[in-house]
Symmetry: D2
Subunit: 383 residues, 4 copies
């Protein structure tokens, strides 16, 4: 039985608020530990919405002012699920109050903000983490293990895409709840910060730092009605973004994301080509990892589709779930992340990505916007 409590204060109640809450509730059942997660309080500006969310998910109480939430002594950890433009202030305040912080991605609006946040949590010595959840899809975690075991050899190529199609309709407005991701004031950027950020985090984790890049962005729909003003306003975000570049290990990067790729709902794919083996993954079939292993005998060499559902210890996290062949869903990645966060508390080795880790992704994001604007190659800033 758990002997300690991890009392969470959640800020936000949207898509991510739900995904994190589900993870907090599942973690003890599938990944038992010394900690029992307690959903202590849900916070949102709109009291009615906060109440409804708290009732549905079992939060014990409600706050409408995040500063009050942070000030509560019965809260151990603050989970930041707000639009990006609020991350910095909340995180710095929470750090100052000695709270652990679990912050939605991207870390910040830009590197400058990110550096302040990193400084704050490191000064306060509070456990901190950013919700780049795709690291914890079992197939992706397996890829990490295979790379760490040296199975790929020298890396030549890393390719990633995150394709969606939900903003093709020019009548879709921008701004406000559910659509703040289209509002540059709230989001900071478009598909680069929202989608490519995931691709970059995974890439840096799997393949090391990105050194330099050349980027291209496009805004296909130039104006959209703004939900907060009711007026047609210029669209400030990038609708699509491509960048190419070089990793520190000499491999070439080819990244792309867009919300204008008809037919793709949330298709995050990556492929990594090494001297000895290649790996590929696709979020649309998230339970599979594709591997081509050159050391296989020539006549039966081919891409293997690994159904990452074995429960005997071969496949990360899967020994805690069902039996071989039965896949877990997207939501498992959050449950795994909470489990690892708790393990980090228990062992003293923090689970990544920490704020500092996430700062590296932020630097690539800044370089993308700089390069797209200047039409020049840009060196990625160091942390």
């Amino acid at each position: 039985m758990p002997s300690k409590e991890l009392r969470v204060g959640m800020i936000g109640y949207g898509f991510m608020g739900r995904a994190h809450s589900n993870a907090y509730k599942q973690v003890g059942q599938f990944f038992p530990s010394d900690y029992r997660v307690v959903l202590k309080a849900a916070c949102a500006r709109d009291a009615a919405k906060a109440k409804e969310f708290a009732d549905q998910w079992g939060y014990e109480s409600v706050e409408t002012d995040w500063k009050k939430l942070i000030a509560r002594p019965d809260i151990d950890a603050i989970d930041i699920c707000t639009p990006n433009n609020l991350h910095k202030e909340i995180a710095i305040t929470a750090a100052a109050a000695g709270k652990m912080i679990l912050c939605e991605k991207p870390l910040a609006m830009n590197v400058a903000e990110g550096r302040e946040m990193v400084a704050a949590v490191e000064r306060a010595k509070v456990p901190n983490m950013v919700w780049y959840n795709y690291r914890r899809i079992p197939a992706v975690t397996l890829a990490k293990k295979l790379i760490e075991e040296g199975r790929l050899g020298k890396i030549f190529h890393y390719r990633a895409k995150f394709l969606q199609d939900w903003t093709i309709n020019a009548d879709l407005p921008q701004g406000g709840q559910g659509l703040w991701r289209l509002d540059v004031a709230a989001a900071g950027s478009g598909v680069s910060g929202d989608l490519l950020a995931h691709c970059i985090d995974t890439a840096v984790w799997l393949n090391g730092s990105v050194e330099s890049i050349s980027a291209l962005t496009e805004t296909f729909v130039k104006e959209r009605k703004h939900n907060l003003t009711g007026k047609v306003e210029p669209v400030g975000i990038d609708d699509a973004c491509i960048f190419m570049g070089k990793f520190s290990n000499g491999s070439l990067a080819n990244f792309e994301s867009t919300r204008y790729a008809r037919g793709h709902k949330a298709q995050y794919t990556f492929e990594i080509n090494g001297e000895k083996a290649s790996l590929a993954w696709d979020l649309h079939d998230l339970h599979r990892l594709q591997m081509f292993d050159y050391k296989d005998e020539g006549k039966i060499r081919g891409w293997k589709s690994i159904h990452v559902t074995d429960n005997g210890g071969e496949h990360p996290y899967m020994d805690k779930w069902w039996v071989p062949g039965l896949a877990v869903g997207y939501d498992c990645s959050f449950t795994h992340q909470v489990a690892d966060f708790i393990t980090g508390l228990e062992t003293g080795t923090p689970a990544g990505p920490t704020f500092r880790d996430a700062l590296e992704t932020q630097a690539v994001l800044d370089a993308i916007l700089d390069s797209a604007k200047s039409h020049q190659w840009v060196q990625v800033a160091k942390g």
Copy 2:
């Protein structure tokens, strides 16, 4: 906020005990209703195991005698997750006590038992359901809708397979916890009752009754050490089973299941070929439904891979989960089944499969074993 409670008493703590418990805990968060599910008591012969399970999953209390559990007035529903040979007695006792019953599949050891169980629940007028969970995988539910809308036209073929490979090793013992499925005394049959039962339930739901069949069974490994006796004993179950037959609607059936298909973990697949369209599904990629629609224009006709993850109402259950492109896992099927069971309580229209519905599958299972033994075609008995 829910105004009523559904207080569950769970018998069993294995794979299915966990899957059902997860569903009970998730249902209110994703499918809010008037009912709040309360995990009242977990029951197992072994007190320590019952306690451990109750602690991990949040059951309020523990019982070691299922008769006592059934007798408790603070329990509304009994969930039967025991080996098959206990289903009948528990169900009849629970019905007599006026409890709702949610029973693991297959309903019973054979049709005779199943009839007694149906009589008991119908006499007692208690809500009852069998956990044929695959009906509630969104892609399978979508198949049902498409068929009901008449999109397939006259049906010519229904084909299903459930392939596994986990018993190829002849050193695997039979019997006892985790391996009772290999022990005919506990399971009643082998792959027919364990795996084909799922295929048959889905088939009857989608395509109507099976009229007559010819079956072939095989036991590849004739003897295995028995965990309960410690001795090598004959294997009484079917290791593999094939049957062909006719549905009442004139279509042909081709069914197969085995635990000796190297490379397949839990590959339940079905395909249905109609005059106007065909559908196919594969549990290994459970979030996709394949459809070939003859009315599509000739030059662009092809099999469509429908990623059943849209949340705008098009795809069953998916409006309650995440956003398009993000798949749910195997476990969602149980959450959906509890949600539908509760809707059945609210509306008075019971969610299927009821015991009576499941009796039809049982009749096909009996016919399979009869035919395999007699080497003759067999008519499937009516309920």
Copy 3:
């Protein structure tokens, strides 16, 4: 440079006449040998059609009477591409004249005919072959090699299907050119002889003899207009056929074919499950072989998609074609068969399937029709 000639007389000018002719023309370019194939004469009852075919494909002369063709001293080999009901008489006459014979499949209308044909060619000691071309798709030939190398171990299951959808339309007539396959008088049977015959030939080649079977046939459209009589007449062929059975090696057979599986054009698939590995193939992607190899390390085990296009000797026949990654088409199977037939002439070891080999498939076909009629299990007759 070839020093010998192989002078071919072709009877028939339809789909198979074209496929064989293309093979005769390609073989010397891709598989050089001591033999030069000479297209000596094309034979058809209709002189104009024979002439047109001969002109297009480069046959040197034309005949309208197959007996005259066989009697010509400048012909070495007779290629029989007629409807099935003419195979026997032509083959026996050709054998008596000392001609080599390349006969379209199935060998005959039934085993009785087949035995006469085998006796004739064996008495005459003429080289003979049946065009079960799928053995020579490189991926299928690779499967044969892998099995011969013992990579699958003990076999548990062999599953094959041949699915089409081109006769669903009830207005399609039967009989006459192009549609003789629907006319039982010309074809002898329906999908069993036309489609399952291919599946059985491959299976016997890969997995050995079939011992006993239970079969089910169905004729969905009971009457069709007959092109030769102009009248609506009963349909005598099987529209669909399923059989299950046992191979001599103890493995289970599950076979099915139909022309009523909407969405499948010519989908011949097989899968073989062994103790150590499994193989699967699909004519719709004929250049790929799927393999699951249990000896692969657990955490990266999965189905491999082998793109059978390497040209370094690993992949059968492919060293004669292009470069890795560039697939050959369906027609290559015929070119390979002619190449192997010629190698058989050169080495004295005849290329299979010979008439005698094909007789075994014929026996299974007879058993299918017997079982479907009697509703009993049937032992397959020995050659």
Copy 4:
């Protein structure tokens, strides 16, 4: 029966010499026309090799000096299958002699050469074509038709890759027969001219002109033994190349090719995302076109896998081959190109890509090398 002859003189006898020869021999059988192709002479510096090639493929005569070949009055068309550095001189000489020219891709070493060649053929008014054969894979031709019919609407993205892995081994030498593609003096460039050239030709055909690009090239193996000198020499080609850019229609380009993508033999893929539909194709499964059609009903919307093998006129070229479901191979693309070239002769409307069409691809190739060198965005030169 054909009334005219098209007498071909072939220069070269390697991979492409064989592919073109096969096409010349097949075209009359599958695509009858007024022209009979006659393989008049094969030309190579090495007389023995020329003889061997001529014998195997049925060329009537042999030349060892291409100038003599061009001078022969019994030759109508010159087929240039030499390394790239000889294209210009041969083509200009042949044009001056009034010969039709079928030239392997890429057209030339660079735009400057290409312009001279275009000027020469246009001055001489000789039919001319470049062997960008992938336009004639039926699935690709179908894509073209669908785009022309307006089914995609406004285009947002065009993505293409051509991935190989055959030069990873650093011990592979450069130069000489079979390896001249690694020798910059013979090839002009590496993967850009060899592989990306194909991608660009298809893209320009399907999606219009590329306006501006930013490119990155890499040479992973800096030195290789040279087969002609026997010495280790610097590698002058690009081993890998990525470029991003904009098409004239406003869509974004993302292109990549490499010979260091372990696991990919010859994987040319493209995808085009339009407002109304998307299309995707993969050379490794060349008989399939993937389509996502937004106008499909929401609940059954998905990517369709179109098996481009129907023979009723729906699928380009396929009415000339076999029956539905039976795929043609890579080599068909050349047969189709010859058929279209002949149709061009018959109709007076030349089949593309002509030299002038191919010049546009050459301009993109030059821009790639310029941009990669300068690290700047580059405007693509106009023809």
